[in-house]
Symmetry: C2
Subunit: 203 residues, 2 copies
DNA sequence: AACTCAAACTTGACACTGTAAAGATCAGAT
DNA sequence: ATCTGATCTTTACAGTGTCAAGTTTGAGTT
């Protein structure tokens, strides 16, 4: 085999990263129940007990996957913002579009990052990743904060709205209520919701 | 043993109901990972393979628990509405309060009923239970539908808002962002959000 | 250059899980 | 009284997480 420029610490190369990638692939392919320590190990070409040396059990692996998931989640929002218009409302819509897109395209991963243990039990890296992702949404909300009001009000409104819509849409809960909601397209639907919510700043 | 007025079909009495209750108890006590076919069977005092005659595997039990969960969910909303004021806005607030209360008091069950397979794969009973619960929220939204507008718009706004808030709050995601959000009390916080959302009917 | 030794990984085992097959039990109908 | 089918048990098997040992590897030390 030709030498690889990347250093290979000991045996595998970078087993920790490989296991995280294997886990995300398993989630994408087979849903949340397909995420298994032994299957991740098999994909990475190591024995079933190898992951124990890199993560604190299955919960630890899920935490590490959640951290990477938040990174991808943030990227999804940033990408959508980049292709949106250059005014404040379009930027906010872009962020929310990226939020929803991520949920639709990665349902199991979306479920994982928002169903992990309460933040209080998170390790520091995961806490940072979460706040880092939320910061993107936070920024986009800033122009719509009425003067003298705590930004947390609008932020919580928008976050709850787009999160609830994404979660319910992902679970297919809007379908049986009103099939036309699905037909008209999820992006357009949530955008019309934002139109009513994100009113101009000066009251 | 003294005879019980309730008829006991064959051996157990009503194993199906007992297994569902055992499952809900397990969820409440130990979280989602504690829900196990074998543990449910043990609680009901039957062998580990007995549940297979009443549910289609673990997925079937989860579906049945979800159906019962939606019934309790609906009751939570109705109870909260009953103790609310008698005007339209207070009724809507009451419903949402019941929504959030249920999520806070039964996090694992809340997670289950909204994370089950997409509705399209639900059995008919579960579909009905879901729509039946949503109908409560739907009714409370009716007074706030602007004339000439499709009710689905307001319904989706309110549903997404209260669901997203409940889901994020339940997962403890508001804590690290702004601890004061927790301190001031979740009910008050979500109510102030509704004040801004539920504007009077006639535009 | 040989040694040391700790990290990375493997092997084997155990308890627990879901699921299937086959047998036992029992209530009610014939 | 017997039959029948639903209910439940027993047994077995593959897959899972986790622990306790042993083995390999490679980097640093002397």
């Amino acid at each position: 085999m030709t030498d690889t420029p990347i250093q290979k610490p000991h045996h595998h190369g970078d087993l920790r990263a490989a296991l995280i990638q294997a886990g995300i692939a398993l989630l994408t392919e087979g849903g949340k129940d397909s995420l298994t320590l032994r299957k991740c190990a098999a994909r990475a070409g190591v024995s079933h007990a190898a992951p124990a040396h890199h993560f604190d059990g299955l919960a630890g692996l899920r935490g590490a996957i959640a951290q990477e998931g938040f990174r991808l989640f943030r990227l999804s929002m940033l990408e959508a913002r980049a292709t949106a218009g250059d005014n404040d409302l379009n930027r906010l819509k872009g962020i929310c579009s990226g939020y929803l897109n991520f949920a639709i395209q990665n349902p199991a991963l979306f479920d994982l990052i928002f169903s992990a243990a309460p933040m209080s039990t998170f390790e520091e890296g995961l806490k940072q990743g979460t706040s880092f992702a939320y910061e993107v949404l936070r920024e986009a909300c800033a122009p719509f904060v009425p003067v003298g009001q705590d930004p947390i009000v609008i932020e919580t409104q928008v976050w709850s709205l787009i999160h609830g819509y994404s979660h319910l849409y992902m679970a297919g809960r809007f379908g049986p209520i009103d099939p036309s909601m699905q037909a008209r397209g999820p992006i357009d639907a949530v955008m019309s919701l934002l139109d009513g919510l994100a009113t101009p700043p000066k009251a």
